[in-house]
Amino acid sequence: ELKVEQNPLFLSMQEGKNYTIYCNYSTTSDRLYWYRQDPGKSLESLFVLLSNGAVKQEGRLMASLDTKARLSTLHITAAVHDLSATYFCAVDHEGGGSQGNLIFGKGTKLSVKP
């Protein structure tokens, strides 16, 4: 059974600080996704990581994938209040096949304070 674990589950940061969210998964997969969810809203796709060593950056967020370690990280640089949200990682249940069946982590609730 594929398990996806995120940590931390809650993260309170000060503006301007850096931090990393970790996403570990239990079986082989070379597709990993990061989503953002604002309170009461839908999920918005942030990054799609499709191979070992993939790195994607958008603004103050950078995501990477190490398929050998079964680990993805979401790094936050110089956090600002607008980044406050819940961040989910999700792994393709079919291990990179065409099924598109994603298993989600429980999410990391990020709160950025002045």
């Binding site: 996806v4 589950l9 597709r31 996704y33 809203k41 839908s42 999920l43 918005e44 796709s45 799609v48 499709l50 989910f88 999700a90 393709d92 065409s98 099924q99 598109g100 069946n101 994603l102 298993i103 989600f104 982590g105 429980k106 999410g107």
Partner: protein, 115 residues
């Protein structure tokens, strides 16, 4: 494009009632999904469909039924609603074929309360 559209956005049901959550997408995606989201639990897959006429169970299918008569529509039916079905339901679609990323596109969600 409207993307993935869900209705209703909010609904309160009494125990034992039935209802259908509607989902339609205009992106010509073959794959569609229903997830439920409970506080602090991430998203759990209820049912999914890889094309019209084909559906399959996900992780938590009990108490739900689906149908897929067209590419665009994927309704989720709750029979005999129970308090345990109080949740936020998300419909999603994707086009996970070779050369595509397989990422899911989500609707706005339907918040269901069973009392």
């Amino acid at each position: 494009n409207a993307g993935v559209t869900q209705t209703p956005k909010f609904r309160i049901l009494k125990i034992g009632q039935s209802m259908t959550l509607q989902c339609t997408q205009d992106m010509n995606h073959n794959y569609m999904y229903w997830y439920r989201q409970d506080p602090g639990m991430g998203l759990k897959l209820i049912y999914y469909s890889v094309g019209a006429g084909i559906t399959d169970k996900g992780e938590v299918p009990n108490g739900y039924n689906v149908s897929r008569s067209t590419t665009e529509d994927f309704p989720l039916r709750l029979e005999l609603a129970a308090p345990s079905q109080t949740s936020v339901y998300f419909c999603a679609s994707s086009y996970p074929y070779s050369g595509n990323t397989g990422e899911l596109f989500f609707g706005e969600g339907s918040r269901l309360t069973v009392l």
